[in-house]
């Protein structure tokens, strides 16, 4: 009987594993007993590892493991976001529920203390940025620079922040800074302007090295825009600072041409300030340039002092003012450099601290076992082998380097090693990823989120791609699967058309194994999927709707419509009072000028403080409501359990692979089995206890067998006249839509004795019949005609010496029923003959044809009732 696919088996194992782990986790360590696993055939390292986990719970089911489980099955029950990021969010989740129940107020106070500490750090950081922006903006306004330049120097420190807020959204929907950058791109990069030669940049920057770099940057950006990457550049802070710098430089040239050298110099300072703000190298080059200029001015002042120039006093005054400007510029630049250096030192110190923690304090082994070593938030040092970059799907990244595996329409994340130019480092990263996947905690977590299985699927893809990717013409793994992880049939067909038989077979095997890993990954990610669904439901149905209402109200104001529609949209999508504050600020900036942005930022910060204070009573109320709700729900579940405990306890305390005794099921014997695949190709175990024919044998298009008398001497056509019918016509499994019976027997199927006068002919023979999982044995069809009545026989899982067109003699052995081992175990679980019959073209029950006496057109067998 067919046993295509493995899903139900995995489901059972999954249920058993969950039950076991949850049951064990409730016990104290001294009560946790190893469970002897039976029947698990270690065909893979994963199976072995899972079995090891279950056989030795004391080794693996420790606090770290349970913590990991808790993390994975943790739900956000409530969340209140008062800022723009994760750190600005107060949450109550499943893990905290116990603490919340025992001391609701104490729990909230502790949580708020933590979040308030975060806020202080954020505010300090924000204040630094804001003050710098205010100072630069004031300086620009004071010197009469145009509004765009004032805005640019005011906002450049927050540019990264502003760009990153929109980076994950539709690039065609830009915020104000994005709009500005887009306009600059269209102005300068749409076509290469002949004005911008190397000589132009040398003239502007003095330093040839810097100028060459700028010129090359300009050429590259033009190429990028010409190749259709315009929208990718809109959110690039470096592109913005370069183009805004170029725009301001052009304003300086204009001022020079108008004879206003002082204004020109001011514009140049603004341009340098802008460029220095985003790049350390630019900043240093700027400082060098300033130093030279100061020396130049000082020399000129010295010369003037010794000269007899009548206007020397006035001239010296102008020069000194310029020198002061440059000095201010340099001081500001140095402050920025110091901050950058501090960041680097901080990063280095953090990295050293991590190394110290692992190597000197001896926490390496523990962190490897718990998987903490691989967490980019906990280990930011270079020794962390995992790629913390943006996660990509197969279609985005080709085969290597993707870390989102799509199957059954869901995306499952897994870890990949980060890329390195050093061969040794790469070797280290690649091998450490293997260590990660051998971590018991990761294995245990994978039972909840399917990560390990997704990773195995990834390795499987790489393996096939390395072996056959280049050999099969035009093969592209990314095209083979659609975004849901399903095989693209038309592409597969195209690839099969150019593959050799060996390659096609290898592809078939690969697809089968990919399906297996996909099923495992999907099955074992059930809890994570439920978690995501609940979070998404809460966010979409409650959070977003509320925000939508507020946004609609705000959009009734013209300023919001004009200046901050996109930010409001973002707020509706993401939430966070900070983002809302920015929307308000942007609207103000549009109405009252650049200072409005700063005011907006301040409003946002104040709003966050207010929101945080408001959050406390709101969350307290919500939490109490939730706790009461949970208690009520538990009561309902208790009632349900009492009513239908038998259903809920089906899996209780059953280790994987043990036979699960469901109601109305029993054990099976290989020889007695029959086809078990339903039309969707899933596996089922049929059972001897299911004897009620009416339950199993269904109905379909067939007519009662109205056989005509046969000549005397006809005997049973199969070797064992008394055999068991293990599945009937239109049964529950592979026979769901098939008028076939399965006869659990071996030996030969013979031709009727009335054959021999060219009246019995083989109409079809395929020695290589297959099901989706592999070889199904041979398939033969032959007709036998007696006195104008035509019997048609279709026999499967057989071996035959006949060919299509062969005439069959009287009583000749037509087909031998293959043993289970011969058919390769792929489509059956026991030796049997699959048989269909037609009589004069109409479908009839094969059992009736075999069992009827010869006087009624049958062959006198004794085939049991079908189960």
């Amino acid at each position: 009987m067919p046993k295509q696919g493995k899903k139900p088996q995995y489901d059972s194992a999954l249920g058993s594993i969950y039950d076991f782990i949850f049951a064990e986790s409730k016990k104290t360590p001294n009560k946790v007993k190893p469970v002897k696993i039976t029947g698990v055939d270690g065909t893979s390292e994963i199976t072995d590892a899972l079995v090891a986990v279950l056989e030795n719970p004391l080794v693996f089911v420790n606090k770290s493991t349970l913590d990991a489980f808790e993390d994975v099955i943790n739900f956000d029950l409530l969340s209140y976001r008062y800022g723009g990021g994760e750190r600005d969010t107060v949450k109550l989740n499943l893990k905290d529920l116990k603490k919340a129940f025992s001391d609701p107020n104490g729990f909230l106070d502790k949580s708020f203390a933590k979040y308030e500490a975060n806020r202080k750090i954020n505010k300090a950081q924000w204040a630094g940025d804001a003050i710098q922006g205010v100072l630069a903006g004031t300086w620009a306004r004071k010197h009469g620079l145009d509004i765009e330049t004032v805005k640019a120097v005011s906002e450049i420190h927050r540019a990264s922040d502003r760009f990153s807020q929109t980076a994950n959204f539709d690039p065609t929907k830009v915020t104000s800074l994005g709009e500005r950058n887009g306009a600059l791109i269209d102005k300068y990069l749409n076509n290469s302007d002949p004005k911008y030669t190397l000589a132009f940049f040398i003239q502007q920057y003095g330093d040839e090295k810097v100028a060459t770099k700028k010129f090359n940057q300009y050429k590259k950006l033009v190429e990028q825009v010409n190749s259709g990457k315009r929208n990718e550049l809109v959110y690039d802070k470096n592109v913005y600072s370069f183009l805004e710098g170029l725009d301001i430089t052009n304003k300086a040239i204009k001022s020079e041409q108008a004879g206003d050298k002082l204004q020109a110099e001011n514009y140049r300072h603004a341009a340098r300030y802008l460029e220095s703000s985003v790049s350390d190298a630019e900043r240093k080059a700027n400082e060098r340039r300033n130093k030279l200029e100061i020396q130049k001015y000082q020399a000129e002042i010295n010369r003037l002092k010794e000269s007899n120039d009548p206007d020397k006093k006035e001239k010296i005054k102008v020069l000194e003012r310029n020198m002061k400007l440059i000095s201010t510029d340099t001081n500001m630049s140095r402050m920025m450099g110091l901050a950058g250096t501090y960041g680097k030192v901080q990063g280095f110190t953090g990295s050293m601290s991590t190394l110290n923690n692992y190597f000197l304090k001896g926490n390496l082994a523990g962190s490897l076992i718990t998987g903490e070593f691989f967490d980019p938030n906990r280990n930011r040092s270079w020794i962390n082998p995992t790629d913390a970059g943006r996660r990509k799907t197969l279609a985005e990244a080709g085969v290597k380097g993707f870390s989102k595996y799509n199957t059954h329409g869901v995306s499952i994340n897994f870890k990949i090693s980060k890329p390195s130019n050093s061969r040794y480092a790469q070797e280290y990263y690649d091998n450490m990823i293997k260590v990660y996947y051998y971590s018991p905690v990761v294995m245990a977590k994978s039972l909840m989120n399917g990560e390990l299985f997704a990773r195995k699927a990834y390795e499987n893809m790489n393996k096939f791609n390395n072996r056959y990717g280049q050999k099969i013409p035009g093969f592209d793994m990314a095209k083979l699967f659609d975004k849901n992880g399903n095989v693209d049939d038309s592409y597969l067909s195209q690839i099969l058309g150019v593959s050799t038989a060996d390659q096609a077979e290898a592809l078939s095997k690969f697809l089968k194994s990919n399906k297996r890993w996909g099923n495992l990954a999907y099955g074992f990610s059930a809890i994570k999927r439920v978690q995501d669904k609940v979070s998404s439901f809460v966010e979409n149905k409650i959070g977003r709707k509320l925000r939508q209402k507020v946004a609609t109200e705000l959009l009734k104001r013209k300023a919001f419509q004009k200046f901050s529609k996109e930010i409001l949209n973002e707020w509706v999508l993401k939430g966070g009072v900070k983002v809302l504050g920015k929307a308000i600020g942007t609207a103000l900036a549009g109405v009252i000028g650049p200072a409005g942005q700063i005011v907006g930022d301040i409003i946002a910060q104040i709003a966050m403080d207010v929101a945080q204070k408001v959050a406390k009573p709101v969350i307290k109320f919500s939490m109490h409501a939730l706790l009461y709700g949970i208690v009520g729900l538990l009561g309902i579940i208790f009632l349900l359990v009492n009513k239908s405990h038998s259903v809920l306890s089906v899996h209780s305390n059953v280790a994987p692979s043990q036979v699960i005794e469901c109601a109305g099921s029993g054990n099976t014997s290989g020889a007695d089995d029959s086809d078990k695949t339903d039309s969707s190709g899933d596996d089922y175990d049929s059972d001897d206890t299911n004897k009620e024919e009416s339950q199993i044998t269904g109905t379909g298009p067939s007519v009662p067998f109205d056989g005509k008398p046969l000549p005397p001497g006809e005997t049973c056509l199969i070797s064992s006249p008394s055999a068991r019918c293990s599945q009937g016509m239109y049964g529950s499994f592979s026979h769901k839509n098939t008028p076939a019976i399965d006869i659990a027997t071996g030996g030969y199927f013979y031709a009727p004795t009335f054959c021999g006068n060219n009246n019995c002919v083989v109409t079809y023979y395929n020695a290589t019949a297959t099901c989706g999982d592999g070889y199904a044995g041979g398939l033969i069809k032959f007709t036998a005609t007696y006195e104008g009545n035509v019997y048609e026989f279709k026999l499967l899982h057989i071996d035959s010496p006949y060919r299509p067109g062969d005439k069959i003699g009287s009583g000749e052995p037509v087909a031998r029923i293959m043993t289970l081992q011969e058919t390769g175990d792929a489509c059956s679980t026991g030796q049997h003959l699959h048989m269909e019959t037609r009589f004069n073209g109409a479908i009839v029950d094969p059992r009736e044809v075999l069992n009827n006496p010869s006087s009624e057109g049958g062959f006198g067998c004794n085939i049991s009732s079908c189960v």
Partner: protein, 331 residues
Amino acid sequence: MNMTKKRAIIIGIISLVAISAAILIAINFDSFNNEKGHYPKEPLEQNVLSKSEAKKLDLSKTNIPDQNDLQVYSLSEELKVEDMKNLASDLNISLTTSEKSSFYQWGKDTGNMIVYDLIKNLAIINIKNGIDFDEAEVTSVTFSNIVRKFFGEEWKYTVFKTERRDTGETVYYAKRLLNNGFPIEMKEHNQQTDYIASKNGKIMYMKFMLTEFTNTNTIVPLIASSELLDYINIKEYPKEIYPIFTTLQSTVFKDINYVSSEFDEITKTLDNCKGASSKIVYLYTSMKQKTLLPVYRIDSECSVEYKGKEYFVPAVVYINAIDPKYISDSE
């Protein structure tokens, strides 16, 4: 020594050499003759391939092996029933079925079991607890050693494929080699003649084809490739196509039950096969065939239709390789 004596000795030596040479030639005449063999006086019966295959086959891009003549082998009618009985006795299993000169079975499939198919002369042996074998892993030598040990035959094999089964066994597929170096194939899933499945260092089950083939000293000329292109699409030209649907079944047709009439309808649309690589093999089907003849095995791609769309399926195609002049029309 006088001249007469000397002359007599010289003549004697020359005569001795001439007689020795004549004896040597006479002794080796047969083998000289064997190198080439002789063409059959009567056309041979090509009764292993169907003569009613109407599907189109395109061999324009297939390199047909360049071979002029090949040996014809005859089949020994000897069966190995006694060897089987001895083996059954060694495995401590008794005869359970013996019928109509077609089939013997010792033991049951729940334990040790031997099935001996007399129609194809195949031995299918399952050993519940496995038997040890002396080699580190199964190789072609293992196959030769087993047939020597159990059936007293000196046959050579080539192991061409291994397969890991869900139940843990590794199955080694082999083809028996004829003494002219060409392999024998059967119409099986992997076209093997024999296989051995091992697990944890023990042989768990195996299948052996036990027919003996003898070189008949008859040779047959193979059909010229240009002529083959003319003949190949004639319905009666002996050929058979064995499609391998596994890949499509696990993907495009995954929702179609392989035993359903819907799948039958798809298989009926199989046509337009395009040959890729080809090689010469000898095809064995059953003891009914009187001779073992060379055929071309063409690894091909055929098309099938489903819901108006065309899909490709790999297929093994066997076609007659012998010059049609040497093949009889009737059977």
